[in-house]
C-alpha cells in the first residue's frame, strides 16, 4: 500500500497559541486511520491544517507526493480531499438537496452524481423526506447525516471526518461506521477519522494515533492499540469498575 497523505512535522498556531506541535502522520491508500485524543488535543486543528483551512506555521503536508501545504482549501478539495468538518457546517438556508449537490459542485459526471445522490439518500432515508427543507431546520443528528452525505458527494480520494458520530443515535452510530467502512472498501476511499467515540472508531480503523496537547503520544495498528491499557481505560471506557470507584478520581496516563 502506498501513502496518499503525509503530514510532516506540522505546527499550527492560533495567534500566540500553538495548537499542534510538530505532528507527523501518514495515511496509507485505502486504509482507515483514526486520531484519538481528549478535548483540545488538537485533532480538529490537524484536519483543518491538512485541508487548508489553517496555514501551518511550520511543516509540510503532502498528498500523493504533491506538496499541498497552505494551498487554498478549494484547491485541496479539488485535488481529492473531502473534509466533513466539526460542527456540521451545513449551508443553513439552502435546501437539503442543494446542500448535497454542492458537494458535487466540481464534478462533471452528471449520471454518476445522480447515482451517488441516490446512494446517500439510501443510507439516510430521513434526508429524502426533507429534500426541499432548509438545512438549518433539520435536527442536530439529521444535519450530521447531511454533512457526511455531502462530503461523500465529492467523490474524494481521501475523506477527513471530524467526529462523524457527534449527536447521532446509537443505532445510527453503528450504521455510520458500517457505511464508512463500506465507502472505504467499496469505493476505495481512504479515511482519516477523528473521533471521540473510540469504542466504535477504533475497531473500524486500521491504524490509530493518540494525540495529547498537540503532540502524538502513541501510534500503532488497531490491534496493538486495542490492547493498550491506557487506550482501553481512557478511550474505550473499558476498565475495572473498582479502579475508579464511584468518586471522582483520575488515573494517570502513563505516556505523560
Amino acid at each position: 500500500m502506498t501513502e496518499v497523505l503525509r503530514a510532516s512535522n506540522v505546527e499550527t498556531m492560533y495567534g500566540r497559541v500553538m495548537a499542534i506541535r510538530g505532528i507527523s502522520l501518514t495515511v496509507k491508500e485505502g486504509s482507515v486511520v483514526t486520531v484519538m485524543g481528549s478535548n483540545g488535543a488538537g485533532k480538529t486543528t490537524i484536519l483543518k491544517t491538512i485541508s487548508g483551512a489553517l496555514d501551518p506555521f511550520k511543516g509540510q503536508v503532502e498528498f500523493e507526493g504533491r506538496d499541498i501545504t497552505a494551498l487554498d482549501p478549494d484547491v485541496i478539495a479539488r485535488v481529492g480531499i473531502a473534509h466533513s468538518p466539526e460542527g456540521r457546517e451545513v449551508f443553513s438556508l439552502l435546501s437539503v438537496k442543494d446542500n448535497l449537490m454542492m458537494g458535487a459542485y466540481c464534478r462533471k459526471d452528471r449520471d454518476e452524481v445522480a447515482r451517488d445522490l441516490e446512494k446517500v439518500l439510501g443510507w439516510f432515508p430521513v434526508l429524502r423526506t426533507f429534500l426541499e427543507k432548509q438545512a438549518i431546520y433539520l435536527s442536530g443528528g439529521q444535519q450530521q447525516m447531511l454533512a457526511l452525505g455531502r462530503a461523500f458527494m465529492q467523490r474524494p480520494r481521501v475523506m477527513l471526518l471530524d467526529e462523524p458520530s457527534l449527536g447521532l443515535s446509537p443505532l445510527l452510530i453503528s450504521e455510520i461506521f458500517q457505511i464508512i467502512k463500506r465507502i472505504n472498501v467499496e469505493e476505495g476511499v481512504t479515511m482519516l477519522l477523528v473521533e471521540q467515540n473510540a469504542s466504535v472508531a477504533l475497531p473500524a480503523a486500521d491504524f490509530g494515533y493518540v494525540l495529547e496537547t498537540g503532540r502524538i503520544v502513541m501510534e500503532g495498528e488497531r490491534d496493538v492499540l486495542m490492547k493498550s491499557a491506557d487506550i482501553r481505560e481512557f478511550y474505550l471506557g473499558i476498565k475495572a469498575e473498582s479502579a475508579r470507584g464511584d468518586r471522582r478520581w483520575k488515573a494517570r496516563k502513563t505516556w505523560r
Binding site: G15, L54, D55, F57, S92, L93
Partner: protein
C-alpha cells in the same frame, strides 16, 4: 514581561489592573491637566475636539461596540443635544449647569424611543433605519422655522458656569477634559456591571441572552438611551466649540465620521473610542503637515484631503482591522516580551465568513 498574580477577585473588577497601570493612567491625566501650561490655543482647541468626539464615540461604542447595534444616525442625537442646549440657554436662559444635562437627557429620551421602536431590527436594517432618522431629523430641524432657527441656524453663547465665563481655550479645554474623564468612568462602570454584560450578551447571542433572563428589548433600548445621552452631551459641548449650529452641521457625514472613528479606534473597547477620536480629529492636521513636503500641484489639487483621508482609512482597516487599540496592544506586547518576541505570535490565521442572517 510582567506577570500579574491575582490575589483577590477585586483585582479583576477594580478600575485599574494593578499599581503600574494606575500609575500610567494617573500620569496621563496629570499631563493632560497640565497641558495648558505648554500647549498653545490651537492644540488645546484640537484636544477639546478630541475629548468631545471621544464622548460621542463612547456613546456609539456602548451602542455598536457593546450591544452590537450599528447606528448610522448618531449625529441626530448630537444635533438634538446641541439644539436643546442652545435653545435652553438662549431662549429660556436656563443656567448652563442645568441646561447641559437636560439636553443630554432629552437626546437620551429620543434615543430611548428610537431604541424601543427599532428593537426588532438588526444589523444593516438598523443601520439604514437610523440613517434615515438622521436624515429626517436634519430636515425637520431645518424646517422648524424660528424655533430652531431653521436652516439658517443659531448662534451659541459662551459657556458661563455660575457666573464664571469659560471664554478661553484653556478653560474650555479643562472643562471638556473633566467631563470626558467622567464619561470614561461611567462607561467603564457600565462594562463591569450587569447592564454592560447584558449588552454584550445580546450582541453575541440573543437566544442565549434570553435563556439566561436578559430582557433583550429592554437592554437594547437602554443601550440606545445611554448612547444618546452621551451623544447629546457631546452635542451640547460641540455647540460651544462650533459657536454656531445649523442642521447641516450634523448631517449624514457626521454620523459616518463617528462610526469611522470607533472602528478605526478599535471596536468594542473604551480605548477604541478615545484613540479613534484622536485619529479623526488630528488627521487633518497631520495631513496638512504632510502637504508641506508634497509638490504643490498635488497638495493644492482639490480632493487631496478627501483622497488621503479615504486611503488612510482604507489602509487602516485593511492592515489593522482591530483598530488603533488592537495595534497598540500588539506594540505593548512586543515591548513586554521584547527579547523573546517572536514574529509568529502575530501570524494572522485565515478567517472565514459565516452567515449572520440567522437570528
Amino acid at each position: 514581561m510582567r506577570v500579574i498574580f491575582r490575589k483577590s477577585y477585586v483585582q479583576d473588577i477594580q478600575l485599574f489592573r494593578d499599581r503600574g497601570q494606575a500609575f500610567w493612567y494617573l500620569l496621563f491625566a496629570a499631563i493632560a491637566l497640565a497641558a495648558p501650561l505648554f500647549l498653545d490655543g490651537y492644540f488645546l482647541d484640537e484636544l477639546s475636539f478630541v475629548f468631545i468626539y471621544a464622548i460621542a464615540g463612547l456613546g456609539l461604542m456602548v451602542l455598536t461596540g457593546f450591544s452590537g447595534q450599528v447606528s448610522f444616525g448618531q449625529a441626530a442625537f448630537v444635533a438634538i443635544g446641541a439644539y436643546t442646549h442652545t435653545i435652553l440657554l438662549t431662549r429660556y436662559s436656563v443656567p448652563w449647569l442645568l441646561s447641559l444635562p437636560i439636553a443630554a437627557l432629552v437626546a437620551g429620551l429620543v434615543g430611548l424611543a428610537v431604541g424601543r421602536i427599532c428593537g426588532k431590527m438588526h444589523g444593516l436594517y438598523l443601520a439604514i433605519a437610523t440613517l434615515s432618522i438622521a436624515i429626517v431629523t436634519e430636515r425637520l430641524i431645518g424646517g422648524a422655522g424660528d424655533f430652531t432657527g431653521g436652516h439658517r441656524g443659531l448662534s451659541v453663547p459662551e459657556i458661563n458656569i455660575l457666573g464664571l465665563a469659560i471664554d478661553e481655550s484653556w478653560k474650555v479645554y479643562l472643562l471638556n477634559f473633566v467631563i470626558f474623564v467622567g464619561c470614561i468612568l461611567i462607561v467603564r462602570n457600565l462594562t463591569r456591571t450587569r447592564s454592560g454584560r447584558a449588552m454584550i450578551a445580546i450582541r453575541d447571542s440573543e437566544v442565549s441572552a434570553r435563556a439566561l433572563g436578559t430582557n433583550v428589548a429592554f437592554f437594547k433600548a437602554y443601550a440606545f438611551f445611554i448612547s444618546a445621552v452621551f451623544a447629546g452631551l457631546a452635542g451640547g459641548l460641540l455647540a460651544h466649540a462650533f459657536f454656531y449650529i445649523t442642521p447641516e452641521t450634523f448631517g449624514m457625514g457626521e454620523s459616518i465620521r463617528l462610526l469611522l472613528m470607533i472602528v478605526v479606534g478599535g471596536i468594542g473597547t473604551i480605548h477604541g473610542a478615545v484613540f479613534g477620536a484622536f485619529f479623526i480629529v488630528l488627521l487633518p492636521t497631520v495631513l496638512s503637515w504632510v502637504k508641506i513636503v508634497l509638490p504643490s500641484a498635488v497638495a493644492t489639487s482639490g480632493g487631496f484631503d478627501s483622497l488621503a483621508f479615504g486611503l488612510i482609512l482604507l489602509g487602516f482597516i485593511l492592515f489593522e482591522p482591530d483598530g488603533l487599540y488592537g495595534r497598540w496592544t500588539k506594540i505593548h506586547h512586543y515591548f513586554n516580551v521584547f527579547p523573546m518576541y517572536k514574529k509568529r505570535s502575530f501570524q494572522r490565521q485565515k478567517t472565514f465568513l459565516k452567515t449572520e442572517r440567522l437570528r
